[in-house]
Amino acid sequence: MGITQPGHEHDHDHSHAEISQSAPPGYYEIMETAVRELLIERRLIGADEIRRQIEVLDFRTPALGAKVVARAWTDQGFKARLLANGRAACEELGISFYDDTSLIVLENTDKIHNLIVCTLCSCYPRPVLGLPPDWYKAKPYRARAVSEPRAVLAEFGTIIPDDVEVRVSDSTAMVRYLVLPRRPEGTEHYDEEQLAALVTRDTMIGVVPATVLTERSSNDEH
């Protein structure tokens, strides 16, 4: 049972360690706090603007990207517009690009497998996918995705045949990428919502294909 403290009603029935930050703040944490406090103090930005932007970022999730992919799988006209201008096509669906980046959508085919990375930092199609996973920001992925992409893909369980070209796109300043995975076979009768459920974050980064068996049980066998 939880610890009862005066003035602290604990009404859930499991015990847990005190939720606290034990490690001292690091160099960059202190720098971020200092810069943030200075900017607020000088009235250059407000505390609420920072909170609001965090809220915006947290609201964007891979579910948005999945809807875009499902629409492209079911609407050839939309797919053509998406491949011609990713940002404009997403804006058609009401997805705003608050960071003013452009978007190139890369179509996976039976001849080309696309993979995205940002070797310099963590550029990512945040307006459509939200925040990137930690491994995407980690140095091993960033370095190896451009030097041994097939080995990296194999570690995700994705074996690319030799006759398929692996095409790695390295994000830099203004352009973000989204992979349009191949529509899995046997999904001809699926509606848009059922299709969107097959499209996970990792399929849109290009580390795995979209499959009908995306449940954890299918991955356990690997």
Binding site: N85, R87, D100, V166, S171, T172
Partner: protein, 115 residues
């Protein structure tokens, strides 16, 4: 900013363009990425400096040179980004994989020289 991967023909002829307003490279052009090493944060990864690639498309419209902007200089610094294709075997002599495998990256005009 919008991305256009196709080249659009102007409707009228005889338009005089300002310096830097039009892209100087076209799809299919072979280019070399400069080997400069300026001090500061530059959005041209060092593993690609000096490498040879081919222009796949021009990113429209032209954009601010955000490297110059980082130093407070931005007047008249709009040029184009280009999507450059580089074979993996050009980047890594010991590349393991298909010789068709390649890298794509957007490079600002100031980093490219025609060859």
């Amino acid at each position: 900013m919008k991305t256009k991967t196709t080249k659009r023909k102007p409707n009228f002829t005889g338009i005089v363009w300002a310096l830097g307003e039009r892209p100087i490279f076209r799809p299919g052009d072979n280019v070399r990425i400069a080997t400069r090493s300026p001090i500061g944060h530059y959005r041209m990864p060092s593993y690609l400096r000096g490498k040879v690639g081919r222009v796949e498309s021009v990113i429209e419209p032209s954009a601010l040179d955000n490297e110059a902007e980082g130093f407070g200089r931005n007047a008249g610094s709009k040029l184009h980004y280009y999507r450059i294709g580089i074979p993996m075997t050009e980047i890594w002599a010991d590349y393991q994989g298909s010789p068709r495998d390649g890298l794509r990256i957007e490079v600002f005009e100031t980093w490219l020289e025609g060859i």
